[in-house]
């Protein structure tokens, strides 16, 4: 049966108007219409990714509730594809459904104070204790940790091996008494990210994803998907920030100047180039796994977001001197086009740091796409414990 018919069947059996939101989302998952490219039984149909648009359009037209993807971006964009690729059958059955419906929010415990771009240097330790692992360490910049039920976690299981080889990948229960989440206030005023202290956290071995010592390899799937999640969604023309700026330009002729006009046209052009680049990348993406080209979208997206958000503040003139609200809050959604121009300007600064900085992404492109030689390095083959610090 085709996806359109299945969607109509779902709607016939679960009238969105009379069905509880969560019940509807669960039924949608069980019908394989959550993410059609996932396998049957895990919210999908094993169908081409492109058919998702058919489902989404039918459901939107019927006024069906969605899973509010802005709230669960890390789960959808990073944890899910990793669990799908490397998880056990039990892990897939346990985690994917509540992840997709948004019942369980996920966060990403990767970065540490001493391991950012050089993520493989991370020092959080996981020590085996029977059929559990005991985890101690500190993570930082953990977005949405305060709202999360689960985390994807990288920890060092063998300090005697070179840094890339002694890491394992876990699912960490954020309600474990050894997990402490402290807000970390950002330049926007709010605290979207946190510091997370892990003290004697017990993780069952059944919550390890991939083999012991293969965490780095598993993490590549997460990171490649993160870059696509940040820069790679299908958007209509004027779909992102450019739409916001263009609408202001149209509505407020008194703000216009020739200099801003030239920059607006350049921004519109660049937005269109990036939109079509993403479209072409999606057409190429038949294997379902984004490669290093995903880095291209994220790099381009960050540059454009910063350009446009800066332009928007200038365009607003006197109004651009204000700011909506500096109150320290702990938001539960991440929305790059949310709030006002000043917020968007400041939040966009993170786009070239989070998910791999633009400098690191250029390294990735230069080495993995263009095949240029790596810089000489001394840290690759030394045991992690002997690295210079």
């Amino acid at each position: 049966m085709d996806v359109r018919e299945l969607t109509r069947e779902l709607l016939a059996e679960h009238d969105p108007a009379g069905t509880d939101r969560l019940d509807f989302l669960r039924a949608r998952f069980d019908a394989g219409l959550a993410w059609v490219h996932f396998p049957p039984g895990l919210g999908g149909l094993g169908a081409p990714r492109s058919e998702q648009a058919v489902v989404d359009a039918e459901l939107a037209a019927a006024g069906a509730p969605d899973n509010d993807p802005r709230r669960i971006g890390i789960g959808l964009g990073m944890a899910a594809p990793t669990i799908l690729r490397y998880g056990t059958e039990e892990q897939k059955q346990r985690f994917l459904r509540p992840l997709w419906t948004g019942e369980e929010v996920w966060c990403q415990l990767f970065s540490e104070p001493g391991a950012g771009s050089d993520l493989a240097a991370l020092g959080t330790r996981a020590v085996r204790d029977g059929d559990h692992w005991v985890v101690d360490g500190q993570k930082v910049w953990t977005s949405i940790a305060h709202a999360a039920r689960w985390a994807i976690l990288l920890a060092r299981t063998d300090p005697d091996l070179p840094k890339h080889r002694g890491i394992s990948y876990f699912v960490c229960d954020m309600t474990d008494p050894g997990v402490e989440v402290r807000p970390l206030r950002q330049l926007t005023g709010e605290a979207e990210f946190n510091e997370v202290f892990l003290t004697g956290v017990r993780i069952p071995d059944a919550h390890r994803i991939g083999a012991v010592g293969e965490g780095w390899q598993v993490a590549q799937t997460t990171l490649n998907n993160e870059r696509v999640a940040i820069g790679g969604q299908a958007i209509p023309r004027e779909g992102g920030l450019i739409g916001v700026v263009a609408d202001t330009w149209r509505a407020r002729p008194e703000l216009r100047s020739h200099e801003l006009h030239q920059r607006l046209l350049k921004g519109w052009l660049d937005a269109e180039v990036i939109r079509l680049t993403g479209e072409r990348l999606r057409q190429q993406l038949t294997s379902g796994q984004p490669g290093p080209e995903g880095a291209a979208m994220k790099l381009a997206f960050a540059r454009l977001a910063q350009e446009l958000s800066g332009l928007e503040v200038e365009l607003l003139g006197e109004q651009g001197l204000g700011y909506d609200d500096w109150t320290m809050t702990r938001p539960e959604v991440v929305d790059f086009t949310g709030r006002e121009a000043g917020y968007r300007y400041l939040r966009a600064k993170g786009n070239s740091i989070e998910g791999g900085s633009s400098e690191i992404l250029r390294n990735v492109i230069a080495e993995r796409v263009l095949g240029l030689p790596a810089e000489p390095r001394t840290d690759k083959d030394l045991p992690w414990k002997d690295l210079p610090r």
Binding site: P253, H258, L265, V273, T277, R280, Q283, A296, L299, A300
Partner: protein, 358 residues
């Protein structure tokens, strides 16, 4: 959404064009030819046009063509850009055939589509799709008088398609004078008409405008191919060249520049493909697709060629190394059929981003 990829048939076409150009159009041959009396490689043009049969790809078979589309034409242009081959494909098969296909008079079409005749559109190569056309007057007996400067691919043309007095005319006996041109691989010429006999092909400017718009959109594919050559040649060189005891390509300052150039090139492929597909399918979005493609790719090709020279160091500055052929083509292409700035400014209307009032 339009198909932004290449079909298998398109890839096959690419391979055969590339194989021919690799065998018959090495940079040394281009360099040897460009200052001589025959700057165009006519034997190569014949092999391409009639041997491979690419002269009239987009022309229906019933009219003497290959029955393919402008998407395939764009693939040929990518390869011609990659090799800066001195052949009049752009003038004859892109500008010429687009104009002829839009005229009701079909007499010349089969000849140009088969490659037996070479044509070009007699306008300054810098003419943007919406710009004023040169003034050529039509005499009482249908003869033409006027002068048109900087015409691309006029030197080897058998027939010139001359816009005059709002219409389009075919001319076979104009005086064509070679100019010393910035671009050594597509040399321009001035066309002088002095009561020259002509045959009217159209009484309106539709065919000319269509040819200019199509030319601007497809030129992006040539620019893309050129940029790809510059990028891959530079990457290849930097992997080999050693200084300070290591490959120069391992220095991060250079890696980042090339990563940025790669990113622009990837964007160029998407927009050039989008424009070719829009033109091939007569999409309602064609005007925007062309403006976006030309605004982006015009700048891309120049940057790629400039980076290529810089990152080759001294060797890049020599006459012997082919990089300058690409720089000259890229810079001339940037002005051709409207500059990137011109195309960007047309977006003000097309995308409803109004110019500030004075």
């Amino acid at each position: 959404m339009s198909d932004l990829l290449y079909s298998e048939i398109e890839e096959e076409l690419r391979s055969s064009v590339r194989a021919l150009l690799t065998d018959h159009c090495p940079p040394s041959a281009i360099l040897a030819r460009c200052e001589g009396p025959e700057p165009y490689d006519l034997p190569l043009w014949r092999s391409l046009a009639t041997g491979l049969g690419v002269a009239g790809l987009q022309v229906p078979e019933s009219l003497g063509g290959a029955g393919a589309s402008l998407r395939e034409v764009a693939v040929v242009l990518e390869e011609l850009g990659r090799s800066v081959a001195p052949v009049p494909y752009f003038g004859s098969s892109v500008l010429g055939l687009t104009a002829l296909l839009a005229c009701e008079d079909r007499e010349l079409l089969p000849g140009v589509a088969s490659g037996a005749l070479t044509a070009t559109l007699a306008v300054p190569f810098s003419t943007a799709p919406d710009a004023a056309l040169p003034s050529v007057s039509v005499g009482p007996s249908g003869t033409l008088t006027g002068r048109i400067t900087s015409v691309a691919d006029a030197l080897p043309a058998d027939v010139l398609l001359v816009p005059a007095d709002g219409g389009l005319y075919a001319v076979e006996t104009a005086t064509v004078t070679r100019r010393t041109s910035l671009d050594l691989t597509r040399q321009l010429a001035d066309v002088t008409l002095d009561g020259t006999p002509a045959r009217q092909l159209a009484s309106h400017d539709g065919p000319v405008r269509q040819a200019l718009l199509t030319g601007a959109g497809l030129l992006a594919s040539e620019q893309l191919g050129l940029a790809e050559w510059c990028l891959s040649t530079t990457v290849g060189y930097l992997k080999e060249r050693r200084q300070f005891g290591r490959q120069v390509g391992s220095f991060q300052a250079l890696k980042h520049r090339l990563a940025d150039l790669w990113l622009e090139t990837v964007g160029g492929r998407a927009v050039a493909r989008y424009a070719a597909d829009a033109l091939a399918t007569d999409s309602p979005d064609t005007a925007i697709a062309v403006a976006v493609a030309q605004a982006h790719c015009g700048a891309l090709a120049v940057r790629a060629a400039e980076e290529c020279i810089q990152l080759h160091g001294g060797i890049g500055m020599t006459w012997e190394h082919p990089a300058h052929l690409y720089l000259k083509r890229a810079k001339a292409d940037q002005l051709a059929l409207g500059t990137p700035g011109h195309h960007r400014n047309t977006l003000a209307d097309l995308a409803d981003l109004p110019v500030p009032s004075p």
